[in-house]
């Protein structure tokens, strides 16, 4: 589904952050990328999603066999790439419901589909929000405005479930969550997960991986993947830290 080959990227007019990443994600797989602060984890997710602050200087990003390096962020979203943000943006005056309606219908339009009917939309919103234990009044609040850390993350997962992407990238989704919120979020991801889609978890800590079982764990350090293993690698990192890999 996603093939990243020798990817180099830098901040516009700045330093190189990704220094030759290779990664392949197949349908049905869950990958986790771990690594110390400043390793380039968030940069990688932003580059896959198409953030314009970064410039790809070498290598390719292929999504379902197609090079997406020139695509705008919204085009990547329309193709089925979803990025859950570490710091979701507050949009006063725009309700959670109206926002998700706009996002979903724009994606449908780009894929040659009609707008989703109001009844169907409402049914889908109800189904997904109930799965995440989201209350009705939450949906009419302004997007992320005054949300707690947990509410913001839950809202990101709600949007993921509504948009039903092929590849979901979850950037530090576990940060700022208490254990109950973490369980709900992980439960949402597990419900979303199926044979046809894939999940890429970006995380600093191992604890999320107790709830979402990865097939592969990669260690990213200084812009490169320096080790790949199965979920036992995450436990090892938890125990030993990163230093033993860096030296």
């Amino acid at each position: 589904m996603l093939q990243i080959k020798n990817l180099h990227a830098k901040i516009e007019d700045g330093a190189e952050i990704l220094k030759g990443i290779n990664l392949e994600i197949k349908p049905g797989e869950v990958h986790a990328i771990m690594g110390p602060n400043g390793a380039g984890k968030s940069t990688l997710s932003s580059v896959i999603a198409g953030k314009e602050d970064y410039e790809v200087t070498e290598g390719n990003i292929l999504f379902e066999g197609e090079d997406i390096a020139e695509d705008a962020p919204e085009e990547r979203a329309h193709k089925g790439i979803f990025l859950s943000f570490q710091y979701p943006v507050e949009i006063p005056g725009v309700s959670v419901t109206n926002f998700i309606k706009a996002a979903l219908n724009e994606t449908r339009k780009a894929n040659g589909l009609e707008d989703m009917g109001a009844k169907e939309m409402l049914g889908l919103i109800r189904e997904k929000s109930e799965q995440l234990g989201i209350k009705k009044d939450f949906l009419s609040r302004s997007l992320n405005e005054g949300f707690s850390g947990g509410e913001k993350k839950r809202n990101e997962i709600f949007q993921m479930m509504m948009l039903n992407p092929k590849l979901a990238i979850l950037d530090e989704t576990d940060s700022g969550l208490d254990i109950d919120a973490l369980r709900i979020v992980a439960d949402g991801v597990n419900k979303f997960k199926n044979e046809g889609n894939a999940v890429l978890l970006i995380t600093h800590y191992q604890r999320l991986l107790n709830y979402i079982q990865p097939d592969f764990v990669h260690v990213l350090a200084d812009g490169k993947i320096i080790k790949t293993g199965d979920k036992s690698l995450a436990l090892e990192l938890e125990e030993k830290g990163y230093d033993w890999l860096l030296n």
Partner: protein
């Protein structure tokens, strides 16, 4: 002949059209005061950023044709969509009762001209008319000399008018450029409450210059809300001056939503005359092409323990130009004043510009006054967030601009007006989304 010469030239003809002449002397005095200084120029500090030349160089007809071809459907299209709102419709200066709907029985609601002609109102005119309007101002004097159109409304003690009243000023079927001097007088007595929506519409291709002056008196424990919905066409000029005087424990709001008009100058003066007064001024401006919108506000904190809040948002496209000058005067006896002023602007195109100037003159020593103005562009991280969710660049921009403008519409409690302002925002940002 340019406008200045016309104003001198036409006055005796104008006076000849009036039936009730008790204001003649005042009108002549006002015209003389106007003639002495003429129209302000860019040398005048108050008009430093706003060139009035394109207005004053034109010729205007001072006596609009009364005949019109406006249909009920056309009028309905201008509505906010709420059938049960009261409305009062002026076409070419004249009140049209067949288009108006007034369900309130316990308030005096008259056309300005009718009130002027009615001897029974002489006393109330003596007491209120032109008492808070500043007599040093060119447009205000010109208005006093020529005013005839507009409305008079007195809401008696403890009368609460629940439904908003929408006042329409329409101009149509005018073959020449036309000059309207509109004058409104609103008296809200003790414990009373009223809410007004005002909009001006030029339905012709020829130019309309509206010089509007409004005097609002809000008494103890009374509440007045006045919403100016300015979305006129490209051949419209509007110079508005609204003076609002408040007595103790009163609340007055003036909201100004400006989406259209070739050149719009809004002047707003709040005058405090008692303790525990609250004043709110909010504005949203979105313009493009070569439009100019200028907001001049002034709050006169003359008394202690009062609060004023100003929140103006501006979005400027193309080669449009915005001006904001917000003055706060705090008298030395006005201790414990709380005055807040905010003006935030976003320039969307390289040719767009804004001149913003907060001006605080504080003579009391125990006050809280804050002001801030910003000029910026949209937040790139926020744009990325929206686009990564599949929302196109144009729509993402519109959503963020809506969010930016949103807190200036927080205290509109009329839902259809909120919807209308949101729709106009979408229209001006060229997107078809609902916010």
């Amino acid at each position: 002949m340019a406008l200045f010469e016309q104003t001198i030239d036409q006055h005796s003809d104008f006076l000849g059209t009036l039936r009730h002449r008790f204001l003649d002397e005042d009108r002549k005095t006002a015209l003389e005061a106007f003639a002495l200084k003429g129209f302000p120029t860019k040398q005048d500090e108050e008009y430093k950023y706003t060139n009035l030349k394109e207005i004053t160089e034109k010729n205007y007809n001072f006596f609009p044709t009364e005949e019109h071809h406006i249909s009920r459907e056309q009028l309905d299209a201008l509505h906010l969509g709420e059938e049960n709102f009261d409305r009062i419709v002026f076409i070419n200066g004249k009140l049209h009762k067949e288009f108006s709907k007034i369900s309130i029985g316990n308030a005096e609601f008259l056309s300005f001209n009718y009130a002027l002609n009615d001897a029974a109102h002489k006393e109330v005119f003596d007491k209120y008319f032109n008492t808070i309007a500043n007599k040093d101002l060119a447009f205000t004097n010109l208005n006093s000399a020529y005013c005839k159109f507009g409305f008079f409304l007195r809401v008696p003690k403890n009368v609460v008018i629940e439904k908003p009243i929408h006042v329409f000023y329409l101009s149509q079927n005018q073959e020449e450029n036309t000059f309207y001097n509109t004058r409104n007088l609103l008296i809200v007595e003790e414990g009373a409450k009223v809410e007004i929506i005002e909009s001006h519409h030029n339905l012709d291709e020829s130019f309309v210059l509206t010089n509007s002056v409004t005097e609002i008196f809000t008494y103890q424990n009374a509440k007045t809300d006045w919403h100016k919905l300015q979305n006129d066409n490209d051949t419209s000029y509007l110079v508005d001056h609204t003076f609002a005087k408040q007595e103790r424990d009163s609340l007055t709001t003036v909201n100004t939503f400006t989406f259209g008009g070739k050149l719009v100058r809004n002047n707003l003066d709040f005058i405090h005359n008692g303790e525990n007064i609250n004043s709110f001024m909010n504005g949203i401006t979105i313009i493009g092409k070569d439009q100019l919108v200028d907001h001049h506000t002034a709050v006169h904190h003359n008394t202690p323990n009062c609060e004023s809040y100003q929140n103006y948002k501006g979005i400027f496209k193309d080669r449009s130009h915005g001006v904001f000058n917000g003055k706060v005067f705090v008298n030395k006896i006005a201790q414990k004043t709380n005055a807040y002023q905010q003006n935030n602007n976003i320039l969307l195109d390289e040719g767009a510009s804004i001149d913003t100037k907060p001006q605080l003159e504080i003579f009391a020593d125990d006050v809280k006054c804050s002001h801030g103005c910003t000029v910026g562009q949209l937040n790139a991280d926020a744009m990325f967030y929206l686009r990564a969710r599949g929302i196109s660049k144009k729509e993402a921009r519109a959503l963020l601009l809506y969010a930016f403008a949103n807190d200036a519409m927080q205290n509109i409690d009329i839902e259809p007006l909120k919807v209308k302002v949101s729709k106009l925002l979408a229209e001006k940002l060229e997107v078809s989304m609902e916010f």
